[in-house]
C-alpha cells in the first residue's frame, strides 16, 4: 500500500537488548515498515539528548529510544540513567514545542522480536497520521535568511526595533 507521506523514523537502541531484539525480528522473518533507521549504542545510557535534537533537525519525523528492561541492563544501571535523563528531556522538548508523541521510549529485550515489530509499526502509523515535522527544517531555512523582510509581521517588529 502506498502512502502520500512516508515518515522518517530514527531508532536509538542499545546493542545488548533492543538491537538484538531487532535482529531476532529479522531471523524470525517478521515484516514491518521500512521507515526506521537504527543507530546502535552500547547502552541507552550513552544516548545524549542532543542526538535526538540533531535527528529532528536533520529531518526525522519520529524517534524511538529503546533499551533493556529495567533491571536487565548489561551495564547494571545505564537504562535507569537514560530513563531519568529523558524524563527531564521531555519537558524541554515540550517547552520548545515538539509534540511529545513524536518521541517514544520503550524497553525491548533480546527475546522480544515481536514487540520490536509492534512498536516500530505503531510508531510509523502514528507519525504518518501526524504528518511531517517541519519546525526544524523551517528553522534551517530561516538560518539561511536572505535579509528580505517578506513577512509583514516580521517587518513590523523590525521597524519597532
Amino acid at each position: 500500500m502506498k502512502h502520500d507521506f512516508e515518515p522518517k523514523i530514527v531508532a536509538f537502541v542499545c546493542t545488548w537488548c533492543t538491537y538484538a531484539g531487532a535482529d531476532l525480528a529479522g531471523t524470525s522473518r517478521m515484516l514491518y515498515p521500512s521507515n526506521v533507521r537504527v543507530v546502535k549504542f552500547p547502552c541507552t545510557g550513552r544516548i545524549d539528548p542532543v542526538f535526538i535534537l540533531k535527528a529532528f533537525q536533520k529531518g526525522a519525523d519520529g524517534i524511538l529510544v529503546s533499551g533493556c528492561h529495567p533491571g536487565d541492563c548489561h551495564y547494571m544501571a545505564g537504562n535507569f540513567h537514560a530513563r531519568r535523563r529523558f524524563a527531564v528531556f521531555r519537558k524541554l522538548l515540550e517547552f520548545i514545542g515538539v509534540d511529545l508523541n513524536r518521541l517514544e521510549f520503550s524497553w525491548v529485550s533480546a527475546a522480544e522480536g515481536g514487540k520490536w515489530v509492534e512498536i516500530v509499526t505503531e510508531l510509523t502509523e502514528k507519525i504518518r497520521s501526524m504528518g511531517p515535522l517541519t519546525q526544524f527544517t523551517d528553522l534551517n531555512d530561516e538560518e539561511q535568511w536572505s535579509g528580505a523582510l517578506s513577512n509583514p509581521e516580521l517587518k513590523a517588529v523590525y521597524d519597532q526595533v
Binding site: V39, F41, G45, A55, A77, G78, H81
Partner: protein, 665 residues
C-alpha cells in the same frame, strides 16, 4: 579518512532477493569518501574475505564497510579479515542489511532505499573512526578467597593445586564454617567432620596458601587482575608463631562458663579457647570480652602457664595489604534467628514458636550439634532443659522460608533433606522414639535425594504431616505443637519433648557491607547476584570477582563444592594469561576541558572514574579532573552522555561518529 571500501554481500539470496545489491553498490560509489564498492555472493566465505583483503591492498583502503548480516553475527570475522589485510580492525564496520532490512521488508524498492541509507550512515561513521588498540592489563596471579567454609576451602585448594598463590581470609578463629558443625551429611550419612577436617589440614599445610584467620576485609581497591586488599587481622592475643597448640592455657583458664558459640551455646568454653578440637589453625584466641585479665586486669594465668610464652595481652589489631588478581567470595550463610524480630527489617519474627523462650525448641543447627559425636553431649540426643532423652520429637520445616507474609519468599533448599536426615539420626539413637515432621512440600531433587527422603518415612518411620504449625507452647515439661494436617483436614496437637525448627537460610551478617566494599551487587535479601542466572552463574557483573556457595543463594554441600570448583576454574582461566586483553571501547577524559565536577564518577556503575590531581612543577594543586581507568571501564558511555562539558569520549562511539551518522538522514 577518505578511502573507504564498501563490500555488499548477497548472502546467497537472503539479501539479494529483496535488496538490489548492484544498485546499492552503485549508490555507494557516489558517496563521499568511497573509493571502491563491490558486491559478492558470500562475503564471509573464504573467497569473499580474500576479495576484501585484495581490495584493501589494491585500492589502499583506509576504512571498510561490510554491508551484510548483523554485526552480532560476523563483525569479528570481518574485523579479523581487516586486520589480516593490515588495517586496524576498528576501522571496519558492518551495515546490517539482512536482519534489519532484507528479512523484514518485502518491497524491493523500499528495501533497496533503506539498504542504501544504512550503508551511507556506516560510511559516514567509518570516516570518523579512529584506530583503536586493544587494552592490555597485567594480571597478578594470586587469588583472594573470602570465607573459609567448604566453598572457600574447595576454591582455595583447586587454585593452589594449579600452582597459583592463594590468600584465604576467614572471620572466625578457625576455618571450617558450617560444615564443620554438622553431624552427618545427606544423602550418604557420612560424618561431616571426617570428610571436612582433612581438607582443613590440607589448606594449612599447602605451601601456596596463605591463611588469615580471625581476619576481615577492611577495604578493596583496584580492578580485575590488579586488586589491592587491606585485611584487618584482629588481635588474637596469642602469638601464632610461638604457640604450639598444647592447650594448657585452656585447661588452666579460670573462666570456664562461657557459652560455646560453635556448639550453639549448648556447651561451655574458657575465655582462651579454640572453637572446636579440630580447629585449623590450632591456635587459641582470647575472647577479650569475657577474659578477666581484660575486664579487670586480675588474672594472667594463661600467660604464666604458657611454656613457649605465646600469650601476648598487648597484641593489637593489624592491617595487612595483599595484592591479588581475582577474588572468590564464599561468605556462606547464617540461620534465620527467629528469637527476635530484626530491627528495621521487613522480615517478621516467629514469636508464636517460642524459640528462645522455651529451651526445648531449637533450630536445625543446634540439633546437628546435639547429634554430632564431637558435640557437647558426645552425640547423645537429650533435651537442653533437663537432659532427658526426648521420646517424641517434632520437626517443623519452612520456618521463615517460603513465607511471603513473613518477608522471605524463597525456598531454603536444604531443609527438606536435612530434616529427613535429622529424623533418621534421631531414630538411630533413640530407637523407641517417634519423629513427626510438619511440611508444606518435600523438595528433594538431587542424586539419591528422593530415595533418602522416602527411606526416612518408609524405613525409619518418621510421620510426615502436611500442614503448617500455628503455635508452640510449654505445658508442664512438654512442648505442645499445634498445627494442621491439610491432607486429612484436621487440627493436630502433639505433646512433644523436643521441637526442631528448620529455619530459613540467610546471607551472613554484613554481606551487604562487604558487597559495597567489593563493588558487587546483591538482591533484596543480601544474597550476591551473579552476572547471568544461567550462563554466568559463578561470576559477578564486576570483572574479576567470582561467587561460591550459599552467599549467592541457599545451597547444599555438593552444589557448593561444584560452584567453588567452577569459580576456581574461572580464576585459573583468568590466570592462564600474563596480560588481559580487552576491547578498547572505553571512555577517555579530555583533561583540558574537564571542569572536575565528577558527575561522571557518580553515574559510573563500575567505579572506573577516579579523581586525578593536576599539579604544576612546584607540586601545587591546580585542579582536580576526572580520570577513567581503562582496566575497569566497561564502555557503557553513560559518563559521556552525563558530562556537562562534553569532555568524556567513549572510543568507538564518539559524538563525532554519531553526529556523522545522523547527518545522513
Amino acid at each position: 579518512m577518505s578511502r573507504i571500501g564498501v563490500f555488499i554481500c548477497h548472502c546467497g539470496e537472503n539479501i539479494s532477493r529483496t535488496v538490489d545489491v548492484e544498485q546499492v553498490a552503485q549508490a555507494a560509489r557516489q558517496m563521499v569518501g568511497v573509493t571502491y564498492a563491490c558486491d559478492y555472493k558470500y562475503m564471509c566465505s573464504d573467497p569473499g574475505q580474500t576479495l576484501l583483503k585484495k581490495a584493501v591492498a589494491e585500492h589502499r583502503l583506509e576504512g571498510i564497510v561490510v554491508a551484510a548480516c548483523s554485526p552480532r553475527m560476523h563483525e569479528k570475522t570481518f574485523r579479523n579479515a581487516a586486520q589480516a589485510a593490515g588495517l586496524n580492525p576498528f576501522l571496519c564496520e558492518m551495515a546490517n542489511i539482512r536482519e534489519h532490512c532484507s528479512w523484514v521488508h518485502d518491497d524491493r524498492v523500499e528495501a533497496t532505499a533503506k539498504a542504501t541509507d544504512i550503508v551511507h550512515m556506516l560510511v559516514e561513521r567509518v570516516r570518523k573512526n579512529k584506530k583503536l588498540i586493544p587494552i592490555t592489563v597485567p594480571v597478578t596471579k594470586r587469588a583472594l578467597i573470602i570465607g573459609g567454609g567448604i566453598a572457600g576451602i574447595q576454591a582455595a585448594l583447586d587454585i593452589a593445586d594449579c600452582g597459583h598463590q592463594v590468600v584465604l581470609v576467614e572471620r572466625e578463629p578457625s576455618i571450617g564454617g558450617h560444615m564443620a558443625m554438622l553431624s552427618e551429611t545427606f544423602p550418604t550419612l557420612d560424618c561431616s567432620q571426617c570428610i571436612m577436617t582433612p581438607r582443613m589440614v590440607d589448606v594449612v599445610n599447602h605451601p601456596k596458601i596463605t591463611l588469615h584467620t580471625y581476619s576481615e576485609i577492611e577495604s578493596v581497591d583496584g580492578y580485575i587482575g590488579n586488586f589491592s586488599i587491606t585485611i584487618k587481622k584482629k588481635a588474637r592475643s596469642v602469638d601464632m608463631a610461638k604457640c604450639t597448640g598444647c592447650g594448657v592455657c585452656m585447661e588452666k583458664c579460670p573462666q570456664k562458663k562461657i557459652p560455646n558459640e560453635f556448639d550453639k551455646n549448648l556447651g561451655f568454653r574458657p575465655a582462651i579457647y579454640v572453637p572446636f578440637p579440630q580447629a585449623v589453625p590450632n591456635t587459641p584466641v582470647i575472647d577479650r570480652e569475657h577474659c578477666t585479665k581484660f575486664i579487670n586486669g586480675k588474672c594472667g594465668v594463661c600467660q604464666k602457664v604458657c611454656g613457649p610464652g605465646a600469650v601476648d595481652y598487648e597484641q593489637q589489631d593489624e592491617l595487612i595489604v595483599e595484592q591479588v588478581g581475582a577474588i572468590v567470595v564464599a561468605t556462606g550463610f547464617k540461620l534465620y534467628d527467629i528469637t527476635e524480630k530484626p530491627k528495621g527489617s521487613a522480615i517478621k519474627g516467629y514469636g508464636e514458636f517460642g524459640h528462645g523462650k522455651i529451651p526445648d525448641v531449637i533450630d536445625g543447627l543446634t540439633f546437628e550439634r546435639l547429634a554430632s559425636a564431637s558435640g557437647p553431649t558426645g552425640g547423645k540426643i537429650i533435651r537442653p532443659s533437663d537432659g532427658k532423652e526426648p521420646k517424641q520429637v517434632v520437626f517443623v520445616q519452612c520456618v521463615g522460608s517460603r513465607a511471603r507474609e513473613k518477608g522471605i519468599s524463597y525456598c531454603s533448599k536444604v531443609c527438606c533433606m536435612y530434616t529427613a536426615k535429622h529424623t533418621m539420626l534421631y531414630k538411630h539413637k533413640v530407637h523407641d522414639g517417634q519423629a513427626y515432621v510438619f511440611f508444606m512440600d518435600a523438595r528433594t531433587p538431587g542424586k539419591s535425594y528422593d530415595e533418602f527422603w522416602r527411606r526416612a518415612i518408609e524405613e525409619e518411620e518418621a510421620v510426615y504431616i502436611r500442614g503448617m504449625v500455628s503455635r508452640v507452647y510449654q505445658k508442664g515439661d512438654k512442648v505442645v505443637v499445634m498445627g494442621s494436617d491439610i491432607a486429612v483436614g484436621v487440627q493436630v496437637e502433639i505433646e512433644a519433648d523436643l521441637v526442631v525448627l528448620a529455619t530459613a537460610i540467610q546471607p551472613r551478617d554484613g554481606a551487604d557491607t562487604l558487597a559495597q566494599k567489593l563493588g558487587i551487587s546483591y538482591d533484596k535479601y543480601n544474597f550476591y547476584s551473579e552476572a547471568h542466572a544461567k550462563l554466568r552463574p559463578v561470576e559477578c557483573a564486576t570483572a574479576g570477582i567470582y561467587l561460591a556457595g550459599a552467599c549467592q543463594g541457599p545451597k547444599d554441600i555438593p552444589d557448593t563444592v561444584s560452584q567453588a570448583s567452577a569459580a576456581a576454574a574461572k580464576v585459573m582461566t583468568l590466570f592462564s594469561k600474563d596480560q588481559l586483553e580487552r576491547e578498547p571501547i572505553v571512555a577517555r577524559v579530555n583533561e583540558k576541558f574537564c571542569v572536575g565536577c565528577l558527575a561522571c564518577k557518580k553515574v559510573c556503575a563500575y567505579g572506573a572514574v577516579e579523581e586525578k590531581e593536576i599539579r604544576d612543577r612546584q607540586g601545587n594543586l591546580i585542579r582536580v579532573v576526572a580520570y577513567v581507568n581503562p582496566g575497569v571501564c566497561s564502555g557503557c558511555g553513560t559518563c559521556q552522555a552525563t558530562c556537562p562539558s562534553k569532555s568524556v569520549e567513549l572510543d568507538g562511539y564518539t559524538d563525532e561518529q554519531v553526529m556523522a551518522m545522523l547527518e545522513t538522514l
